[in-house]
Structure formats: structure tokens, C-alpha cells
């Protein structure tokens, strides 16, 4: 089962390595991890996409909570979150495939952010599923390079994380 977890943590020295080594040391899986400061002073927020059965996920959230620098752990397992991810993609675009790339970009509301006679670089944003879908279509045309940010997530509704 795939799960998305948000971790609010003190922006202290080494906090990222504490989280990362918790996962590696206990054999938990990380599919993606993003981190950046938040609007609150000294606090950063990580979004971690992980995989495991119910017991493992319970241990993951408990172990994260146990880290001294972690302020709050939010488990978005039940689809209660909106997730977004960005991808930057360099695709081969020559002759007849140039138009095809443009069509795909248009359908997915992506953007061309760099152009050469032989390539387009595309910026695509959306749910991880949508990113997977556009990549699926671009792949046959020739993917030269791909960067994904990993998902970020925020809860649905009016409430902030503090409730």
C-alpha cells in the first residue's frame, strides 16, 4: 500500500538525515521525499511517499513522531490530501515529432520552457498519476532527461494542519 506522509519538523541541523536514516535503518521504504521550509519560523515540512502494510505504516508514523525534532506527523492514507508533483522533461523533438510533443503538452496543460531545433524541455505539474501519464506518452518520442520533484501534499478542506 502506498502512503503519503507529511512531517513537520524543527529546521534543526541534521533533521533530514535523522528522518532519512530512520527509514534506512529500520528497512522502511521511501519512494520519494521532498523538504522545504514552511511559513512558520524554524519549521520545515517534508512529504514522504512510502509503501508498506498497515503495521509497517503504523510503526513508521510512530517512529517519526518519536524523533525529538519532529513536531507533527500527518498520515494522508485515506485520500484526504491533494497531491502535486512537478516534472521537468527533455524530449527529442525533430521534424514530425515536434507537433506531436506540442499536442501532448497542450492536452496536459504543461509548458515548454526551453526549445532547440532538436528538443523541447517541458514543465509539467499535476498529481503523480498525471505526471506518469504524460511521461507514458512522451517516452516513445525519446526521453533525454527527466527530473521529478516527488509529491507534495496538503489536506483537503478549510482546516490547516493545526486544525
Amino acid at each position: 500500500m502506498q502512503h503519503t506522509i507529511s512531517v513537520l519538523a524543527e529546521n534543526e541541523f541534521g533533521v533530514l538525515s535523522r528522518v532519512a536514516s530512520l527509514f534506512s535503518g529500520r528497512g522502511f521504504n521511501i519512494e520519494s521525499l521532498t523538504v522545504a521550509p514552511t511559513n512558520e519560523d524554524g519549521m520545515s515540512r517534508m512529504t514522504i511517499v512510502t509503501r508498506g502494510d498497515e503495521n509497517i505504516l503504523e510503526q513508521i508514523t510512530k517512529q517519526l513522531n518519536k524523533l525529538i525534532d519532529v513536531i507533527k506527523v500527518i498520515d494522508f492514507s485515506d485520500g484526504s490530501a491533494i497531491e502535486r508533483e512537478m516534472a521537468l522533461v527533455k524530449v527529442t523533438a525533430e521534424d514530425e515529432s515536434r507537433a506531436e510533443v506540442l499536442r501532448i503538452v497542450d492536452i496536459f496543460r504543461a509548458k515548454i520552457i526551453d526549445v532547440t531545433p532538436k528538443s523541447y524541455t517541458i514543465e509539467a505539474t499535476g498529481s503523480p498519476v498525471k505526471i506518469d501519464a504524460i511521461l507514458e506518452l512522451l517516452r516513445p518520442l525519446g526521453l533525454k532527461e527527466l527530473v521529478r520533484t516527488g509529491a507534495v501534499a496538503i489536506g483537503r478542506g478549510a482546516k490547516g494542519w493545526k486544525g
Binding site: 536514516s21 535503518g25 513522531n65 518519536k66 525529538i68 513536531i71
Partner: protein, 566 residues
């Protein structure tokens, strides 16, 4: 008044009431040592190896319940503490370890004696701090001690770069700490407690399964009161020994791999297990799939990660044992009539338990020609003070101590359970003796492990710490040899300690006294002689070489599938 960072750190120790530290000097802590010269309130003990210093701080903490403190220099000094830190971490022992670090400007440059000790110890500390500003020392020290002792205790490392020790600042120690991201839940939920008591009073075959958390939380008294009031059988883990008197008729002794038959049978047949400050270690549960198949489980623990980590739990109670047990006692008192009925209902269960006790008590075959290790342990119990503190090393002798010594008081057994660190016993005893100069402190060691920190004989003699070291010499790495005998066709690969050592001469070389017993009728005399000495002593017992620790649950087997005799 302004003072330098080194002095501020020491002033913080004073504020925390630290009276003893175990430390070893070096380039990046030389400023601390220079300031220590002026601080008379802190006794500094110089071990002969930083690992031993860390174990000593751990032994000090286990025996007293206070936070143990160790100091080491950067680089090799710091790496030498790692085994001691990991040992404390696995057994949840409160410690603060202060390491010197190269000056902040040099961090990351592969400077002389630089190691990333915070990185190295990340997975075996409860938390760690790198101090980068002299103005932060006091707050960080306050937090370090608070984190080390609160909630589930554990070791906290403070890495103090040399320039920060030299820099000057005003010293003021914070009155209190507030860490927004760290708020251990100490108070058991009243409704969960009510439910627990209801479940308990509804059960017919209850067992209390008591772990190290009861001792750590200073709740032996509450536990004993509750168990005695309800007449519920109590088994303890290795770490729980001493938290419930083994002399009590309702004590089942230790459970698990080398636990008592009655304890493991009681767990297997129980309909309600109340786990109190215990973490369902694999040495205790045996095969998980067949563990306690008929029991509902109540789990009381201050650390939510301990709950449902290894086994299913029907009723979790997150909280401090002392708080939860006190509440349970009060709750039980509200149901006097129910309690009477409950106790009457236990008759059949008590009969079962008595039957198991009778059928296979912990025992051994005595010999008139060769010293049985178990006999030495029994004699030690008989001849030692009631409040003697026993530190063990790791191996067969550790298990025989657990089985035969009979622990009746909390904080009287210091043993490395979780990490199983050979070399722990002697320095841990040293730390306990430093805390209690007037109590009898005995280190029970094997001939293998005692060599791992034997250099501490010098520390004992120098600091007049009269630890009584008992060596059960089987001339084998006995515990491994036992596995080789049972599971590897007696192929004793590298477990025979070929070279006999003259421990009397060795003791003499350090300025201590040594005694040797080779025959059963010498055992008592040697123990009496050893105990009568004012200073540190080695008592060596040449014991039956191929004695096995039994009973035993083979790895991967169920708790009730015990190997009972040879």
C-alpha cells in the same frame, strides 16, 4: 559573570546535580579538563578506555536512576564510546555523553581527530546536539538532560567543538525546558485504565509480564502492591529482574529463551497478559505465530513504538508505569467484591502454575568433584548482602546469574540485555560502586568478556572502588560453544580460549587481590575471603567446561517447546 564554554558546560553539570563523571582527556577536551581543575563538586573518574567510561556511566545510571555522564575527546575518543552508547540505547538508560569536536571552522575538513560522531551515533542515541555557539551551551545541556531522563530514557550526545569551549559568554541556566516537538505522554488514559482493570478482573488465567520499564520508571513498589493484592503470577524479563521479588510465591522468575518452564507455560496458557514496561523482544516471545495463543494482551508502555511492534495488542495504554499502576491500584480498590470473586476464581490457575513449577524447576546437577557454575551463583546469593548490586557480563554466566541469583530488589541487576555487550560487566560495576561506595558491588563475568575491559582493574584500584569480580572460568566462549554443541555438531570453531591466565598474578599486577577455587569445597571459602577484602578483588572459579544453560527455547521455536535437559 562571563566564563568560557568549557566552564559553562561544567556549571551545567553542577546545576543538574551531577556528582560523578567518567571521562578521558584529549586535545579537543583539554579546555574542559583545565576548567575541571577548579571544579571541586564533581568527582572525575578516569577509566582506562572510553568504552569502559561509557559503560561505567551506564552502570552508575542503572544503579541510581540518575543520568550517567561520560566525556571523551574527538575522533578515537568519541568512536570508543559508541559501543557504550549503543548498549545504553538498547536498554533505555539515561546518559549524557559529551564529546569534544574539532573547531567549527575545521568541521568537514578531515581535520586531525575529526569524526562525524553525531552521524555515527545517530541510530543509537535518543538525540544528539552539535553546539555551534557558546551562548547555546546552557540551553542545550538543559535539553540534553531532560531528554535523556524523560519519557523512555536514553543516551543523548552533546558534541562540543573546541572553539565553542574557548569562547566566552554569560552563564545562566534555564529554569525549565520547553521543546515543542517533544512531549512524552506520561499520563495513562483513565478510561483505558478502567478497561484494563475490568479485563483483568474478568480473566481466569492472568499473568503480569514485567520488563525493564518498571525499574526505569521506579514503579517496583506499585507493581508489587498490585500483583500481591490480586495474587496474579508475575514473570519478568531479564531487564525486569528485581522489580518483583523472586522470593514471592507468585513470582515465576524470568521468561523467554532461558527462562523458567513455568513462566513460559504460563504465558502460553494465559488468557490475559498484562505487559508492563516490556517490549516483546524476540528472546522473550520465541516464535511470534504461536506466542500466547489464548491471551488477550494489555500493553502499558511510555513509548508508543513499543506497542504493536512485534505482537498484536488488545488494549494499549501509553503512559508512565508509575502513573498507570497507581491508577490501576486505585481502580482495583473500587471493586473490592469483584476482586474477592476474581481471586477465588484463580484457584485452578494457581494449581496449574504450581504444577509447572514442580515439574521442571530451574535446576542443575551438583557435582562433588567439579565446580558447577550455578553453584557459585547460589553461593554468591547466600553470602552476599541483601542490597548487593550485581553487574554481569554477557554469556552463559549472565543467564545463570539471571536463573539462580534470585533478585528481590529493583536496580540490583545491571546487565546488557538488548545489545548483549561483552565487556560490559566490569566497568558497569565500577560505575555502580562509584555511586554507592558502601554497598557490595559484584561483577559476574566469563573468562572471555572479562578480558574485554580488564584494564579497568587499574581504575578500581586507583579510585578505591572495591568491586568484587567473579570470573566463571570455563575456558570457553561458553555461550557460543553451547550453540556449536547443539546446532553445529560440536565443531568448536574459535571458542576455546587456549591460553590459561593466572588471574591471581593479574590481580596482583594491578595492586588488587586474587583468589582461585578449583574444587566445589573451595567455593565458599574463596567467596568469604573475597568479600572480606577491603579493596577490589578477583575471584576465579574453574567451572565445569561444557555445562549448558538450560532450559532453552531454540531460536525460532515456540515458548512451550523448551529443551529441558541435556
Amino acid at each position: 559573570m562571563k566564563m568560557n564554554g568549557a566552564r559553562i558546560m561544567l556549571e551545567c553539570l553542577k546545576k543538574e546535580g551531577v556528582d560523578t563523571v567518567f571521562g578521558y582527556p584529549g586535545g579537543t577536551v583539554i579546555n574542559i579538563y583545565d576548567e575541571l581543575f577548579n571544579v571541586k563538586e564533581i568527582r572525575h573518574i578516569l577509566p582506562r578506555h572510553e568504552q569502559a567510561g561509557t559503560h561505567a556511566a551506564d552502570g552508575y545510571a542503572r544503579a541510581t536512576g540518575r543520568v550517567g555522564v561520560a566525556i571523551a575527546t574527538s575522533g578515537p575518543g568519541a568512536t570508543n564510546t559508541v559501543t557504550g552508547i549503543a548498549t545504553a540505547y538498547m536498554d533505555s538508560i539515561p546518559m549524557v555523553i559529551i564529546t569534544g569536536q574539532v573547531p567549527t571552522a575545521l568541521i568537514g575538513n578531515d581535520a586531525f581527530q575529526e569524526v562525524d560522531i553525531i552521524g555515527i551515533t545517530r541510530s543509537c542515541t535518543k538525540h544528539s546536539f552539535l553546539v555551534r555557539d557558546v551562548n547555546d551551551i546552557a540551553t542545550i545541556m538543559k535539553k540534553a538532560f531532560y531528554i535523556a531522563r524523560s519519557g523512555r530514557p536514553g543516551p543523548v550526545l552533546v558534541d562540543l567543538p573546541k572553539d565553542v569551549q574557548i569562547a566566552q559568554a554569560e552563564f545562566s541556566y534555564p529554569e525549565s525546558v520547553e521543546i515543542r516537538s517533544y512531549k512524552p505522554n506520561l499520563v495513562g488514559h483513565p478510561r483505558q485504565v478502567e478497561k484494563a482493570v475490568a479485563m483483568l478482573l474478568d480473566s481466569r488465567r492472568p499473568v503480569m509480564y514485567v520488563g525493564g520499564g518498571v525499574g526505569l520508571g521506579n514503579a517496583a513498589e506499585e507493581l508489587t502492591a498490585l500483583a500481591r493484592n490480586l495474587e496474579v503470577p508475575v514473570t519478568t524479563t531479564l531487564m525486569g529482574l528485581g522489580s518483583f521479588p523472586e522470593s514471592d510465591p507468585n513470582s515465576l522468575g524470568m521468561l523467554g529463551m532461558h527462562g523458567a518452564y513455568c513462566a513460559n507455560m504460563a504465558m502460553t496458557h494465559s488468557d490475559l497478559i498484562v505487559a508492563i514496561g516490556a517490549r516483546f523482544d524476540d528472546r522473550v516471545t520465541g516464535k511470534i505465530a504461536t506466542f500466547a495463543p489464548h491471551a488477550r494482551i494489555i500493553h502499558i508502555d511510555v513509548d508508543p513504538t513499543s506497542i504493536k511492534k512485534n505482537v498484536r495488542v488488545d488494549l494499549p495504554i501509553v503512559g508512565d508505569v508509575k502513573d498507570v499502576l497507581s491508577k490501576m491500584i486505585k481502580q482495583v480498590d473500587k471493586h473490592k467484591d469483584k476482586v474477592a470473586v476474581f481471586k477465588e476464581g484463580l484457584a485452578a490457575w494457581h494449581a496449574d502454575v504450581a504444577g509447572w513449577k514442580d515439574k521442571h524447576p530451574i535446576s542443575y546437577k551438583q557435582s562433588s568433584t567439579i565446580i558447577k557454575p550455578q553453584y557459585v551463583i547460589q553461593k554468591l546469593r547466600e553470602l552476599s548482602d541483601d542490597d548487593a548490586i550485581i553487574a554481569t557480563d554477557v554469556g552463559q554466566h549472565q543467564m545463570w546469574t539471571a536463573q539462580f541469583f534470585q533478585f528481590n530488589r529493583p536496580r540490583t541487576l545491571l546487565s546488557s540485555g538488548g545489545l548483549g555487550t561483552m565487556g560490559y560487566g566490569l566497568p558497569a560495576a565500577m560505575g555502580a560502586q562509584a555511586a554507592f561506595p558502601d554497598r557490595q558491588v559484584i561483577a559476574i563475568c566469563g573468562d572471555g568478556g572479562v578480558q574485554m575491559n580488564i584494564q579497568e582493574m587499574a581504575t578500581l584500584v586507583q579510585n578505591r572502588l572495591p568491586v568484587k569480580i567473579v570470573i566463571l572460568n570455563n575456558n570457553f566462549l561458553g555461550m557460543v560453544r553451547q550453540w556449536q554443541e547443539l546446532f553445529f555438531d560440536k565443531r568448536y570453531s574459535q571458542t576455546c580460549m587456549e591460553l590459561p591466565i593466572d588471574y591471581i598474578k593479574l590481580a596482583d599486577a594491578y595492586g588488587a587481590k586474587g583468589f582461585l577455587a578449583t574444587k566445589p569445597d573451595e567455593v565458599e571459602k574463596v567467596i568469604r575471603q573475597g568479600f572480606a577484602e577491603k579493596g577490589p578483588v578477583i575471584m576465579e572459579f574453574k567451572v565445569a567446561r561444557e555445562e549448558k544453560v538450560l532450559p532453552m527455547v531454540p531460536a525460532g521455536a515456540s515458548l512451550n517447546e523448551m529443551v529441558l535437559n541435556a
